[in-house]
């Protein structure tokens, strides 16, 4: 079944905004409510919007299952590598060794209710990005697998 052009145009306009909002939620996970899981779910909802608006064969040219699978695996691997990286300096698993004075995300956080600084948090923003990648990959793979069984009349 073909969706009307109203739905297609709305999906085209909304898709980049959903992507930007999801990325914002992921990257600001250590400052504002949200984080990797929530932002990844928002990004996956954008993928679902494309899948619902277009035909399965059309939308899989943009959202390919191989790419989403690689996102998923890369996210989980990055998360485990970030957790393991603390062992390089001799600390324990999951130790936040970048938090004060690291080369990235290493500013000292202002205590109390101060203006939020994006360059703080150490490993936490990195893990947020890794989890966001993993969640968008996993949910998109599940959606693509579920929607691949639909028989479409052209």
């Amino acid at each position: 079944m073909q969706m009307s052009s109203i739905v297609k145009t709305t999906a085209d306009i909304l898709f980049p905004f959903i992507l930007i909002y999801g990325l914002y939620i992921i990257i600001h996970g250590h400052l504002t409510p949200g984080g990797g899981f929530q932002g990844g779910a928002i990004l996956a909802s954008g993928v679902l919007l494309l899948l619902l608006a277009y035909r399965y064969t059309e939308s899989t040219k943009i959202v390919r299952q191989v790419v989403m699978k690689s996102f998923e695996s890369t996210g989980l691997l990055l998360f485990i590598i970030a957790a393991l990286s603390a062992m390089v300096i001799g600390a324990g698993f999951f130790f936040n060794w970048l938090s004060p004075g690291g080369f990235i995300f290493g500013d000292v956080v202002a205590y109390g209710s101060a203006v939020a600084n994006l360059n703080t948090g150490g490993l936490i923003p990195m893990m947020n990005i890794a989890v966001g990648l993993e969640v968008v990959g996993a949910i998109s793979v599940i959606l693509l697998a579920l929607l691949s069984g639909i028989k479409e009349k052209i």
Partner: protein
């Protein structure tokens, strides 16, 4: 007969549940020393302004690792069950 017994049993179980639930106290969780600790120290210890994220990714990192692994396994299972089969 069976119908009457099942109705009586259902009413009895709902009544038992009501008796148990009515004895509980809702909305007034007891004070725990960790409550104050997370609010006061998580900003300094983890370097994140968001206390929830600090708990999720710093204090309870293993929990998040398990969640990510569960999601990975869910996607793996979905693709395994819904894969394309040869028709023979």
């Amino acid at each position: 007969m069976r119908r009457k017994i099942s109705i009586i049993l259902t009413i009895l179980m709902i009544g038992m549940l009501g008796v148990i639930v009515s004895g509980l106290t809702f909305g007034e969780p007891g004070e725990h020393p960790m409550d104050r600790y997370f609010i006061e120290n998580s900003q300094i210890e983890s370097g994140a302004n968001n206390v929830v994220t600090a708990v999720l990714f710093d204090y309870r990192g293993f929990d998040t690792l398990g969640e990510a692994a569960v999601l990975f396994t869910a996607a793996l299972g979905a693709t395994l069950v819904l894969r394309k089969r040869r028709e023979d």
